[in-house]
Symmetry: C2
């Protein structure tokens, strides 16, 4: 076994990103299917993707975060409670062996969100801890983080710990409406939501349900092009998310966005309507830095 | 041809209700597929379902309302504008012949809704006119009517005319989330949304998007049964609809509901949270009375 080497995996529902890490950083990368997207069990996927590394270096410790630790994953790891930091997540991890490798699965996180409801995340907590390492200015005081996506996460940091969070399934609703609803399903598959439509949707953000039907009638009555209608739907949904979530997270003048740059830009536009400044943090390899902080006490 | 006899059809997306009417009322009934649900063209469906009546009485006038007048229907009839009454809808109708029968299709209605958006209905306008005949107390003053369903319609009556309306696609969203979303799709097909869950969902009505995820986490974390989760989703959506729509239709102390009694009872519960009294109007045969008022000047 080579000292200091380890495998790290960010394994969500849509993909597996697997890397070989040394003390200096990422040495090699592999990509694989998301949890539930492959017919073979997660262990087999891991062993085949890491075969070369293991042949070269012998058994290596392997650290994972994400849905790999869910009921549908490799093994289920109970959620750890908030507030959370690298130490508490490390204590909640699950360890077991696989072909001589020690495998560690990070726990997900649970909290009672600001609406008083139970809430959960799996994977984002590790990405956030990684972002904290890259941005030490977030280690003191209260900060608002947003991870937009299928299930957007709104996160409050307090002195470098994850204090609470709230999930808003905006991306899932958009995808469902686009694929299946009478409101928007007519759009060509390659239609890209337009900026002009997005701005019109944002303007309706305080009346989500009654405005959804407008996506259809603007096309039917006003001849709105499909790209504008999709933009309208996107603006309406993201605008509503931001409007609602800020009621639960008031008093912030700034928000940090982690995620796809194009999506983050849309959130910036929605946040600016509430006078919030936003900045984008690079989320690309945050999960691997987060895994290192949880498991290597680096 | 027999004097006074006519055929009337309420032909929407999910079903055709066809009746033979005399001056005294409904004499006979047939049921058929909704627009878009059958492989054969609407004319063939009409001719085969009415064959016996035509054989017995000769060619009869046939009056229709609903999606039969849409682009996907028998022939497209342009929407008539609001405000609307039986006379204006009659002027907007389309007439043509079919195997000796004179066929008349009522126009749908369009308006600029209280949010400033274009809005449309096809079929409900005729049902509303029928309800007005059965409830002459609605012919004077301002009244709020709600027709809950896949696409709920909120309607303001002024002195017996349809002044404006607004569509809220709550039923469609519920069905989509139940069938396809990660939030609720695990429920058994025969699970019935529970009253206890509905009340909990109503309590969240002011935070629709962030509370949607609670449908999932209550099951995952709290072990909420599927029937309660569906009830929660239903209460959240219907509560949000009522909350939003009442902002567009303020100042009413009472609402009249037309539709399925079980669904109307849920709307009554949501309306009561805003101190609105509600009463249910029987909508069963309203469309046929409405067709008579549009076409027979009765």
């Amino acid at each position: 076994m080579t000292d200091g080497l380890f495998i790290a995996g960010d394994w969500g529902t849509t993909r597996l990103r697997l890397v070989l890490c040394g003390e200096a950083g990422i040495l090699d990368r592999r990509a694989g299917p998301g949890i539930g997207q492959s017919d073979q069990p997660p262990e087999r996927t891991f062993l085949s993707l890491s075969a070369e590394w293991r042949a070269q270096h012998g058994p290596l410790p392997a650290y994972f975060c994400g849905m790999v630790g869910s009921r549908m994953g490799w093994r289920e790891v109970p959620y750890a409670p908030c507030p959370a930091d690298p130490q508490s997540l490390g204590r909640g991890a699950l360890a077991f062996g696989s072909e001589g490798c020690q495998v560690f699965l990070a726990p997900g996180l649970t909290c009672t969100n600001p609406l008083g409801a139970p809430d959960v995340m799996r994977g984002e907590e590790t990405q956030i801890l990684g972002a904290l390492i890259a941005h030490p200015e977030l280690a003191k005081g209260r900060h608002l983080l947003i991870l937009p996506g299928t299930h957007s996460k709104w996160v409050e940091l307090r002195d470098g710990t994850i204090h609470s969070f709230m999930t808003v399934p905006t991306g899932e609703i958009f995808a469902l409406l686009r694929a299946h609803s009478t409101l928007a399903r007519g759009a060509p598959e390659d239609a890209v939501p337009s900026a002009a439509g997005f701005a019109q949707g944002l303007a309706r953000r305080q009346r989500l349900l009654p405005s959804l039907f407008e996506t259809r009638t603007r096309q039917l009555i006003d001849g709105m092009p499909a790209a504008d209608a999709l933009g309208f739907l996107s603006g309406l949904l993201i605008g509503s998310e931001v409007e609602s979530a800020l009621e639960s997270y008031p008093g912030f003048g700034e928000a940090r966005l982690i995620g796809d740059p194009a999506l983050s830009a849309l959130y910036s536009e929605a946040l600016s309507m509430h006078k919030l400044v936003s900045s984008e943090l690079d989320g690309g390899d945050c999960a691997f830095a987060g895994l290192r902080s949880i498991f290597r006490k680096a």
